[in-house]
Amino acid sequence: MKIPYTSEIREDTGLYNAKIGMWLFLASEVMLFGGLFSAYVFLRIGAREGEWPHGLLNIPIGAFNTLVLITSSLTVALSWTTLKAGDFQRYRRLQIVTLVCAALFLGIKSWEYYDKFSHYEIWLNKPLTAKEYPQLAGHSTEADLPITSVVGHIEGVGPFETLASLQEAGMSTVKIHPDAFHYRLTALQQAERRKVEKATGVRAVHAETDEHANVSIDVSHIARMSAFVPKHGTFFATYFTLTGLHALHVVGGALAFAFILWPGARMWRDDPKRYTNSVECVGLFWHFVDLVWIFLFPILYLL
């Protein structure tokens, strides 16, 4: 018993079944990511003053990843038109480029994740002052600015360590390489700051110092310590959940394309129309995944 319209188009709708199915699935995915984006908005609006970090994500790398995904969307679209024209070999080459882009995206993301997991924030029992540690003052001009937390890599400490594990290992001081970025100010505020600096000549406290000069902190002065893991705070919780779910979708889409490209390629011989349709449907999914990233990148990295 054959189900109609699996390959041919139904006249009054102009669609075949799988296409409608994929669009419906994408509608549900829009609601899924929409729910997560709404959670992001809710949590960011509700965050206390100064607690929502900015500038902790690497924008150039994120931008590069964006380009990688856009390229892959382009090759996917090209591969579908090529397939419609009947050129299987060219389709195959384009899809391999797609998969390479996907792998590159995931590789860069994994590197970003690893970097985050080895990055720490240390909240202090007693604040340090910008005067003593100008390299921690960010773009502030106040010398008396109390610094309650330090952000950066810790010398000799890998990912996922906690205060308890450091104490168990017997460390009494930690040497932290502070980040050049400081999340007291948003990107916009930092730009404003630089404009003011240029106009008034009043420079930020850190301006003359080595921004990366290590800071030694006694373990007993640490109130709380956390790597940039989901547990760190709502920003990273949201970041990892959103990008993690997105990455899973990239993996899924790549696996689907790989399946169609190799084990499933037999269908090109038996039913080329259906084969082209399946490439089109997975292509739709891929474009959606790309679109989600287009939203994720500015929301997480830029704003």
Binding site: M1, F42, G46
Partner: protein, 620 residues
């Protein structure tokens, strides 16, 4: 049309891709879960009526199965809480939704649109086999350390996050399975209705049941994913220590919560949950309205009054149900502006519901009513839905909702809609379509016993709850409200303490629930004995119905229809004065045997003026 392939037992009955087999799988599994949910409630109502007493008969079994929480056969307070949470979860997500959507939807939608199967048969199989592990995980959660989920079927944080019950995590994981299953099912139904309608079956010729399943599918498709997102976030809160729903300054058991970053919001979960939660209740009720419509049309021998209004209303309900969710959150301290918005949309959504009820009731007027068992259940649905719907109005208005929220009034309200409402419609559907699926009638006498017993018991259970709620009895109290009753020594002279009458109703409800359970036994017996040894149907269309599912052999074979299907008319062509077909028929397949026919099936060719049937061409 139908190829005959040799399928083994496993491929034919277990991992089948045939929508009818899958529909029956859904039916049997969800009815089982319904029974489990009823059993949980039986024990809970016992505890409410007799707090601290060992449960009779099953107390020992409970203790050996669950251990300490059921020590000496008594239901401890946390066991009561987990029974309550799981009763709601099992009934809604494992019982009613798979029943009305997975069972009835899968079985009937392809048949009623004239298709040979669903658009995506393998995905259909997958959606059933995702539902089963989800259900198993829920059941298994009773036996893990800490027991099953205890934070209500709504799983509100921070309690749901900090509660040291492993079952809470299992609940979240099972929900992911169940939600995925529903999403795949929705995609299937929508695509089937759009793409696989046979020629001539235009949108306004669809049986109303198909319309309700279509809208239900959209509700599930669009409303479930935010809850899926929420479940992922709550899982991360429980397992990864995140603070999506954990606010700053949280104090647990008198001590500040340590190790949490804070910064989250419990309200976020409530929004994500109720964004599904409200469309969910329309999922529970729309398809049953569709079933009732089919049964009423058939048993009044009249077209349904106001088909267009029905379609418009169900579409309006579908759209409006997405913008009313915060009426479940009126007591969270929302501002007057937002409360006004949701109050407005909620009262507006009552209008299409009333339109549907009115159309159905007007359909009875002047009908030649056959009081078959399905019809009895369908009629009871109308009154139950009426009571349930009307009792909902005070909750639409924040000022009255503040008093009634989380009271027994709410329990009475929503149970009137799902219990004598949805479940009765489901029974109507089972009695109605059983002959088509099995080729045998269910025993009518047992059906009557089942109906009258259930009707009386349902009302004895849920009407007193409305009274108790108005008297101020709150829900989720394991001692049945004793701590707040006038009989409790601390409450001497306290105004508003629950009176003896109100407390005595607990006893009435307890006995009524037991009786309700007993009255389901004739149905269970009837269902299985009739399937194997019931009176055989006299034709393929024993109820003399007009819709396409009755135009197949009985039971329908793989591929459903043995001839090419075309549709020529509206779905409820009963007793039409403009009927152009000969008034007598010798067609045995229409159950008439020479008698006068008062209906035209949808696929019956239109007779020409000269009396000959029109050519079998695909009409527009």
């Amino acid at each position: 049309m139908t190829a005959s392939h040799e399928l083994g037992f496993v491929r034919k009955y277990i991992f089948s891709v045939d929508h009818k087999v899958i529909g029956i799988q859904y039916l049997l599994t969800s009815l089982t879960f319904l029974l489990i949910g009823l059993t949980l409630m039986l024990m809970m109502r016992w505890q409410i009526a007799n707090p601290g007493q060992p449960v009779p008969v099953v107390g020992g079994l409970l203790e050996s199965a669950l251990g300490e929480p059921a020590g000496e056969g008594k239901i401890s307070a946390d066991l009561y809480n987990s029974f309550g949470a799981m009763h709601g979860t099992i009934m809604i997500f494992l019982g009613v939704v798979p029943l009305v959507f997975g069972a009835f939807g899968n079985y009937l939608v392809p048949l009623q649109v004239g298709a040979g199967d669903m658009a995506f048969p393998k995905m259909n199989m997958l959606s059933y086999w995702l539902y089963v592990p989800g259900g198993l995980i829920m059941l298994v959660s009773f036996f893990v350390p800490g027991g099953a989920a205890q934070a209500g079927w709504t799983s509100y944080p921070p309690l749901a996050t900090i509660i040291p019950t492993d079952g809470q995590t299992y609940w979240l994981v099972a929900m992911l399975f169940i939600i995925t299953s529903s999403l795949l099912g929705s995609i299937n139904i929508i695509t089937t209705v759009i793409q696989l309608r046979v020629p001539g079956l235009t949108w306004m010729r669809l049986p109303f049941f198909v319309w309700t399943e279509f809208v239900t599918a959209f509700l599930l498709l669009l409303a479930f994913p935010p809850l899926e997102a929420g479940c992922i976030l709550q899982l991360m809160d429980r397992l990864a220590g995140t603070s999506f729903f954990m606010p700053h300054g949280l104090v647990v058991s008198g001590q500040p919560a340590t190790g949490l970053s804070g910064g989250g919001s419990p309200l976020l979960w409530q929004h994500l949950f109720w964004f599904l939660g409200h469309p969910e209740v329309y999922v529970l009720v729309l398809a049953p309205m569709g079933i009732v419509t089919e049964v009423i049309a058939n048993n009044t021998r009249k077209p349904i009054w106001g088909y267009r209004y029905l379609v418009g209303s169900v579409l309006a309900i579908g759209f409006l149900s997405m913008v009313v969710w915060a009426h479940h959150m009126f007591v969270t301290g929302m501002g007057a502006g937002i409360a006004t918005f949701f109050q407005t949309t909620t009262t507006i959504i009552s209008i299409p519901s009333v339109v549907i009820m009115t159309c159905l009731m007007l359909s009875l007027w002047g009908g030649s009513i056959r009081f078959t068992v399905p019809m009895l259940f369908a009629l009871a649905f109308l009154s139950a839905f009426g009571i349930g719907g009307l009792t909902g109005l005070p909750m639409a208005l924040p000022m009255s909702d503040v008093a009634l929220h989380d009271s027994y009034y709410i329990i009475g309200h929503f149970h009137y809609l799902v219990a004598p409402g949805t479940i009765f419609a489901v029974f109507a559907g089972i009695y109605y379509w059983f002959p088509k699926a099995t080729g045998r009638h269910m025993n009518q006498k047992l059906g009557h016993v089942h109906f009258w017993g259930s009707l009386v018991c349902m009302n004895l259970i849920f009407f007193p709850m409305l009274i108790q709620g108005l008297a101020g009895m709150e829900r989720r109290m394991s001692d049945g409200g004793y701590n707040y009753s006038a009989a409790h020594p601390s409450n001497e002279g306290v105004v508003g303490a629950l009176s003896g009458t109100v407390m005595q109703l607990n006893g009435v409800i307890g006995w009524a629930v037991l009786a309700l359970g007993a009255f389901q036994l004739p149905f269970i017996y009837n269902f299985f004995s009739s399937a194997f040894a019931g009176r055989r149907v006299e034709s393929d269309n024993p109820w003399q119905a007009t819709t396409l599912e009755w135009q197949t052999p009985t039971p329908p074979p793989h591929g459903n229809f043995v001839q090419e299907m075309f549709v020529y008319r509206e779905p409820y062509a009963y007793s039409l004065s403009h009927s152009t077909q000969p008034l007598t028929s010798t067609r045995k397949s229409n159950g008439s045997n020479g008698k006068i026919l008062d209906f035209e099936t949808q696929n019956q060719p239109v007779a020409m003026a000269n009396g000959n049937p029109a050519k079998q061409e695909a009409p527009v």
